[in-house]
């Protein structure tokens, strides 16, 4: 049995200063917020600190949060501001910036030794171009259009698992091709 989450009821509890409301909100939002924060910050460290602040801010502002509309706007604004502040300060540190880059750049760029960047990109593009048709189509939707696996699955009307399978296969093939280029 899946527990239902009724935001209206939880907001009533919140208005009555009932801390159980924060608990309900935490249970419902934590993993969503975590996943969102991770896609934005890339690194796990520090996410919990940001999210703790989000929930405490909700509690502190409970008197101003009456409707689901104000709540949705509030939780978005507060999370967004905290995350952007955090990311901005991290990107100003070259070391951290490189660390984030490693997580934001897909694996095929690490298959061969960084020579010249344009050289590398050209090689990767050429290797993608030589992929079998279906793999190339799916890989391009990911790497060129930037869609998530789920979005690609919806567009092509296949399962997310199938998308992951094609991408994994394409990645293996790319690795082979790129290593060959390097030897050549």
């Amino acid at each position: 049995m899946k527990k239902t989450f009724e935001l209206e009821i939880v907001l009533l509890q919140l208005a009555e200063d009932n801390p159980a409301a924060i608990e309900e909100l935490f249970n419902y939002y934590y993993h969503r917020l975590y996943h969102f924060s991770k896609s934005f910050l890339k690194l796990d460290e520090g996410i919990d600190d940001v999210l703790q602040e989000v929930f405490i801010k909700i509690w502190q502002n409970r008197k101003n949060i009456r409707t689901t509309h104000t709540f949705n706007a509030f939780i978005f604004t507060i999370t967004r501001n905290l995350l952007l502040n955090e990311l901005r300060s991290r990107l100003n540190d070259q070391k951290v910036k490189d660390k984030i880059g490693k997580l934001a750049i897909p694996i095929e760029y690490s298959f061969i030794e960084q020579s010249e960047y344009y050289d590398l990109k050209e090689k990767v593009d050429r290797a993608i171009d030589e992929l079998p048709v279906r793999q190339k189509e799916i890989f391009s939707l990911s790497r060129i259009n930037g869609y998530s696996h789920k979005e690609i699955a919806e567009k092509l009307n296949i399962t997310t698992k199938a998308v992951e399978f094609h991408i994994a296969k394409a990645t293996v093939l790319l690795r082979k091709k790129l290593l060959n280029f390097e030897l050549a």
């Binding site: 949705n72 750049i105 990109k121 259009n145």
Partner: protein, 339 residues
């Protein structure tokens, strides 16, 4: 206008690639420069929104529970407005093992709140132990760790203490932590202290400097504001002085002897001395406006002295005089030339 739209459209795609971690190195350097600049804030806000909306609609398959963080948040909000919560919720029986209560006037409060869970009804309790002004106390935490609580201070923790050992401190306390493999965390308004098994003193009075002094073992101290972290060696002290966060070697006795009933001053200025005396003896001390008062400092150890004896000592060792108002229990200290 047109060029802005085109640029946004390009950024929209780059940002999506960044979010989905499929961005190439050249694009990453472009998007990270864009994100790092404060002047792009409004555009970034609008880029974020669709990703947020999608994430919030997501039916999550994988639950990612984090009971430690949940308890930490609940505890933080309970402490932040304990008064409100106390009014609303039933205050009930205590389950705390108190080893010894040395001084009467100790206040213990327990806050219950019921948590609805899919499986069982679960009761989380928060317990707060306070030492009012003029009193000190010590007690044993459920995991066997010892706490000495100084005057005007309070310590809170919740019932699931043994697994996630988190205490919240207002004021000053000395800890002797039992090492059971789980980290022990002291959280204050200004900084957090993380330890395993060790003894240390934390002082975090509102409006005064935050200081953590280590006697044995090791501790990690994290400043709340910046997140900066340091590890202390025995004999070291981490302090937050405005925006300064620094580590110094200190005479640890000076910072922990209060638990043995001693007040030690080493070249301490009058203002700081009177603040400590106010808490120690539960009195109010006002300082006159004479600037020369701020140049007076004291060195000495007080042990079991009565307050009038202490005032006498202050008076004979520096050019000051005082008037005591019985009714308000206020002492007024003035500079005097008859010294």
């Amino acid at each position: 206008m047109l060029c802005i739209t085109i640029q946004n459209k390009e950024m929209d795609q780059l940002f999506r690639k960044y979010i989905n971690s499929v961005i190439n190195p050249e694009e990453y350097s472009k998007v990270s420069d864009f994100l790092a600049s404060k002047k792009n804030e409004d555009i970034i806000y609008s880029l974020i929104k669709p990703h947020w909306d999608r994430e919030m609609l997501e039916e999550s398959e994988v639950q990612k529970p984090n009971p430690e963080l949940r308890d930490k948040i609940i505890q933080a909000i309970l402490i932040s407005d304990r008064e409100t919560v106390l009014r609303k919720l039933s205050v009930s029986r205590l389950k705390l093992r108190i080893a010894a209560i040395l001084i009467t006037g100790l206040i213990i409060s327990t806050v219950f709140f019921i948590r609805k869970s899919t499986k069982v009804q679960y009761v989380a309790e928060m317990q707060t132990i306070s030492a009012p002004f003029g009193a000190k106390t010590n007690f044993t935490l459920p995991d066997g760790s010892l706490v000495w609580l100084n005057s005007g201070s309070s310590v809170s923790f919740i019932s699931s203490f043994e697994k996630s050992r988190l205490v919240s401190l207002k004021g000053e306390a000395f800890f002797e932590v039992e090492n059971n493999g789980n980290p022990f965390l002291v959280s204050t308004e200004y900084g957090d202290v993380e330890v395993k098994g060790t003894s240390f003193n934390v002082s975090a009075f509102a409006g005064e400097y935050f200081q953590t002094t280590l006697l044995t073992g090791t501790v990690k101290v994290k400043e709340k504001r910046t997140g900066e972290e340091v590890s202390l060696q025995p004999g070291q002290q981490a302090g937050i002085y405005g925006t300064d966060f620094k580590v110094e070697n200190v005479d640890t006795d000076m910072f922990s002897s209060w638990k043995d009933g001693k007040l030690i001053f080493r070249n301490e200025n009058l203002l700081s001395v009177t603040k400590r005396l106010e808490r120690w003896y539960n009195v109010k001390i006002e300082l006159g406006s004479d600037k020369r008062l701020s140049e007076i400092s004291y060195t000495g150890t007080l042990e079991m002295e009565s307050f009038s004896e202490v005032l006498q000592l202050l008076k004979i060792t520096a050019p000051i005089d005082y008037i005591y108002d019985e009714k308000t229990r206020t002492i007024r200290i003035e500079y005097t030339n008859n010294f």
